[in-house]
Symmetry: none
Subunit: 153 residues, 2 copies
Amino acid sequence: MSTLADQIESYIKQLLSKNEGVVEVKRGDLASTFMCVPSQINYVLETRFTTQQGYIVESRRGGGGYIRIVRLSLADPQLVNLIKGKERRISRQNGEFLIKRLVEEEFLTKREGMIILALLDNSVLEAEHIDAESLRGAMLNTLLINLLREDFI
Amino acid sequence: MSTLADQIESYIKQLLSKNEGVVEVKRGDLASTFMCVPSQINYVLETRFTTQQGYIVESRRGGGGYIRIVRLSLADPQLVNLIKGKERRISRQNGEFLIKRLVEEEFLTKREGMIILALLDNSVLEAEHIDAESLRGAMLNTLLINLLREDFI
DNA sequence: TCAATATAGGTCAAAAATGGTCAAAAGGTG
DNA sequence: CACCTTTTGACCATTTTTGACCTATATTGA
């Protein structure tokens, strides 16, 4: 029950785990492995390995070309800023990306992630004349500050 | 006599029983099974699987799309009553009481409680032009309903 | 050296695969 | 008949898959 894109995504994430967060592949090889067109690989990278999701993708064309995918470490204090962007505002999708990532990195349990998403994702946030993105940004900001406190259990 | 809608309803409920309260189907497949138009499925979901009736329905479009129906667990009358009794609008203090209570009753861990409070107590909620109490009430409502999901880990 | 060729990866838009919405038509019921 | 529920279908939105065409880099051989 998962699309090809999902399979490729988890394959890459598996490789990342095995290789301390850095993976270098040939687009063509990967496409062959999954018996798909090469541009499918780009689709996966564009939808699942964006900066907002905490990854850096670099590549080179020509002979000896490659695609390198780097998972930013959460220890890298830049990550949260990267995901949040310079803005204080945060879209629903980016909020979701951030929480999912924190779960993947085991900063939050799956349950905690679900709880946070339930609170943030509320369509009520979208309703009325409130600036949902600012609110979400502020809430996540407070949450992160709290989570990072030494004494936060 | 039972309408087509009734038959689809009981079919889904049967699946839910067989699958511990979670079912994922393709709308098109289900429609084929019952030889009806796909929108008939939506009709059934809208009239028989609402939150009020104890279900959550999630879906995704596009390739690999699906409809997921999750049954809420009404097994715990204490939690159910808490939800029923909850006010629509919730003050900051009452929100705090509610969360503390849920922690004491062990519906939530202490950490989960702290996370929720960090999100709810945020002074941003009190910003102008926002009906903080309604927002808090709505957020808590969504949270509590999610706590009832049978697939809530 | 340098042009030709081979070997990569990139872009973009169309097609395919799903599900959603809404209103009209059809069917029941008091 | 008046009213409510169910059934249908035309049209819309989202996500994934595919392919034709484009660009960049390395290698080769005059």
